[in-house]
Symmetry: C2
Subunit: 551 residues, 2 copies
């Protein structure tokens, strides 16, 4: 792969710095006054989603500069390379073909597509058999509960999708266990029955520490309930590319669905890693979820830059972070069933783009991925929104808003929608000191009290946000939404010069953890670590002896 | 209240800027090499908690400067004023006496303490009656499930405590509903039975929009199941200071427990707002929770600055944010049952200190509260830790670590502990380019490949973290932990010159929401709003008509 030019070496970089300097004192409300078509022309639709970015702090000239930047960075070449299966994951010499997982045809990737189609057929088969009660546990009773054991991409995506599509679910309840803390598994299994529970072990390598530990505990739970060794296989499926390790665990090949090295964990919910979702909502809905993502793929691949929704979101990220100085990005879904969207996006964006060197290994002297955070609206309004409105930090916000509800409670849902629209508007318009004073006088305060309190009630406003809305949170809309953020992450990576498909930074922690575990297991002396680690180990040992003494 | 001097006007401010400039290129590991007592002397214990801050990027001189800063800012006077009941919440002319809620005696606040003791007696009575199955619903069956309806401080604290103390729970299951999105209530009620469910409506004003909407839906759910109007009162308690509004809703005074205007919502879990916790774990455990917080209160009130744990945490926040330039703060509890701690702390810190003016209304020209975020370890290791280790942003981390487990699965818990210790160590030591190259060569890579990949494997290290550990996550330890962060938030507020007990910034959004709700309810025309809001309302209307047409 040819060395790419870095962000701050692109010709448009200086121009954008100039726009940012000029806009830093500007008011978004004034931008509307100066441009009567702004609301229309800073809105676009794709794959059932509507993006309104008219409340971002940029004007047409800055947007044009950003589009030039994208051209100079070769983002469109990157998009072609992504869909074309080029080895964009250059440090691991692999393509990143998650788009193939939701494609309707192979299109240049026939061999891989045949494998995908085969896996889909097996997923459909398993989802159907479980939904129809045809797969039975060791007592002969039908499976009622599925527990997905995985962590990171093998957990966050499936968990989000199953919760978000709750109105579509069928007869099987799906649960998710991820943490190596044994409380996670124990709390999940407490209300379940071994005879009617099926585990899906999700680990590409079948070596993930947390997943293996929990799977071994799950196996013990089934055996302790009275199942024979030979019964175990009825209670375990695996999603893995390591058939040998799965077999050693006791899961035969017929119970293993594939993973491929050309799909990263955080891009894998569309693969057999999503099996629990397909079981929860049925295959037809899972196919709609794939089709929604495929519609976004087509939009991303075929749309010109100026109308390309993922690319524009990527450019807005660069604009806010590298030109306006934002260090974080808040995502606020105004739908309780999307409350885990920020967790999913944390992995997607921060594991992909939380890097300090370019794809070619050159140190970057500009900021890359911001801290992504958020919570379901209206929850945050009673928590951190105080800081969004009056804090000292620039926090660009994405509001995500389904415009209708599955609950049938239209009136209460209207309150939710009104709150979402109000927060976005309040962030922009703010409240001047004079307006604050007038408000307080209206409330009956005396002039001196009103003057004293006004600075506390005043809000600077001018805080940027976008609204991503959809008619309803259907499987297709959810698929499009997740694909939108995937491709946005890709575009940001191209602009920053990053390979978004590797994650070398997580290795050292694993290596050190293995060393420390040997010390805690008393198979290795504590020497050779640092004083702080040694003191912490001593504190841990003291706490254990407290237990041993029956404390 | 006398006007206080702002952070950047304090004499120690310049000295600290100098230390920060000198330390910015320094290595934390080198600080250990230069100071053999560092691990010991940068550790302190209080109320059963152990804070190790030796991996922060500061040395003894900088720490001494920070302590001078605290003296100059009058933090110790502030602590006396806090416990003395002075009106530190100056914009609302009230004291902030959450410490009284867990006190063993009134100590200058006899009248308020009598009310607290009376409320405690009633909480104890309700918790006991429910635990013993003596309170019955409209069919005469004993209550089995309690649903807490509240939002913000009426939700995050109780929810966290009930989940964190799960090993201590009794026979009643407690659930939490907060979001105005009707899906939240609907999903919670689905597995419950109206005849055996009791609702606790938590709203100081009894006017919180979300809480009222959910309470009305809950009432309908009970009535729809066949209860008579007269039966309703068996199914509702309220925690409120507005007895009149509660009575109008149908909750009589005997079923109302008090809230006081001298307790802020985010500091209220110790009051009757914590009733659901007391019901879940029993009064004796709830008392231990209060006692743990009281032990931290005593430490905070009586310890000299240099050994005062909350004050040191506050100074570290100021150091990292205002001198080293951090804009965020990650809290990573290595215990799955503390997974909601970051949510709780978001409200505590960002609603308290997410402000841009001083307590006296002067604009601040320095940064205040950072973005607080996090997730349960080891979940984040498979998600955002990539950015912690190799991203371009300074992310100070607090690791929170119970050293033993309630689960009985000691071996799996050891893995959890090893991971926590390893992450903190890896953040500090990093991996040099040369070490990365050697690691790759050891793995069998050729020299050219090792050289090419080494920049991706290298980690800068030198990233600050603290470890807050405790022998076990007991009720007392949890109480001490939450009180620790409360007081740390107070100390940071004093240093920034902020009133941490008001939240004027959330008002405007509520006002605008009421206006937009009238438009959505067609009782007001859409004019007078901005073009973006008007377009969003039109999109919402179009989506509704899609539903009306049976789409």
């Amino acid at each position: 792969m040819a060395s790419r030019v870095l962000l701050n070496e692109l010709p448009a970089h200086g121009e954008l710095q100039g726009h940012a300097a000029a806009l830093r004192g500007a008011s978004i409300s004034d931008l509307f006054a100066a441009d009567r078509q702004r609301a229309e022309d800073f809105t676009l639709t794709a794959a059932g989603l509507r993006l309104d970015y008219s409340r971002q702090l940029l004007h047409r000239d800055a947007r044009a500069g950003l589009l030039r930047l994208a051209g100079q960075a070769g983002v469109e070449d990157g998009i072609r390379a992504l869909f074309g299966g080029e080895h964009l994951n250059n440090t691991e010499d692999r393509p990143a073909l998650h788009t193939l997982l939701r494609a309707a045809s192979g299109d240049g990737q026939q061999e891989r597509f045949r494998e995908v189609a085969g896996a889909r057929a097996r997923m459909r088969d398993w989802a159907g058999r479980l939904q129809r009660g045809e797969h039975r546990g060791y007592t002969g009773a039908a499976i009622t509960d599925v527990v997905n054991i995985g962590i990171g991409g093998s957990d966050l995506g499936p968990r989000l999708v199953t919760e978000a599509l709750r109105p579509y679910r069928g007869t099987i309840a799906c649960h998710y266990v991820a943490n190596v803390d044994p409380a996670d598994l124990q709390d999940t299994l407490r209300p379940l029955h071994p005879a009617t529970t099926l585990f899906i072990v999700c680990s590409k390598s079948f070596r993930t520490e947390e997943t293996l530990a929990n799977s071994l505990s799950a196996r013990r739970w089934i055996l302790d309930a009275g199942a024979a060794d030979a019964d175990l296989e009825r209670h375990f499926l695996a999603i893995t590319s390591n058939l040998e390790a799965a077999a050693q665990f006791g899961i035969r090949a017929q119970h293993c669905l594939p993973m491929w090295d050309w799909v990263g964990g955080r891009y894998s919910v569309w693969s057999a890693i999503g099996l629990s979702c397909a079981i929860a909502v049925g295959w037809a809905h899972f196919e709609q979820f794939l089709a929604g993502a495929a519609a976004m793929d087509a939009h991303f691949r075929d749309s010109p830059a100026a109308h390309n929704m993922p690319l524009l979101l990527g450019l807005l990220e660069i604009w806010n972070c590298n030109y306006l100085g934002a260090s974080n990005h808040a995502v606020l879904p105004y739908d309780n069933s999307l409350r885990r969207l920020p967790d999913f996006l944390q992995q997607l964006t921060m594991e992909s783009n939380g890097k300090g060197v370019s794809a070619q290994g050159a140190p970057l002297d500009y900021s890359t991925a911001p801290i992504l955070w958020g919570a379901a609206g209206t929850m945050g309004q009673h928590s951190f929104h105080q800081l969004l409105h009056q804090g000292t930090r620039l926090c660009p916000v994405d509001f995500v808003l389904p415009l209708t509800t599955h609950t049938g409670l239209a009136q209460q849902h209207r309150q939710l929608v009104a709150n979402c629209l109000a927060q976005s508007r309040a962030l922009m318009v703010g409240r001047s000191l004079e307006e604050a004073r007038a408000t307080l006088l209206q409330r009956g305060l005396g002039a001196a009290d009103a003057a004293r309190l006004a600075p506390h009630l005043a809000m600077p406003g001018n805080r940027p946000s976008s609204v991503i809305s959809m008619s309803a949170l259907t499987p297709a809309a959810l698929g499009a939404l997740l694909a939108l953020y995937e491709h946005r992450t890709f575009c940001s990576a191209r602009l920053w010069g990053i390979n978004p498909f590797d994650q070398w930074g997580v290795e050292l922690g694993k290596e050190i953890s293995a060393q420390i575990l040997e010390v805690l297991s008393a198979t290795r002396p504590a020497q050779g670590l640092d004083p702080t680690t040694e003191h912490l180990i001593a504190a841990w040992q003291e706490a254990q002896s407290g237990i041993d003494q029956g404390q």
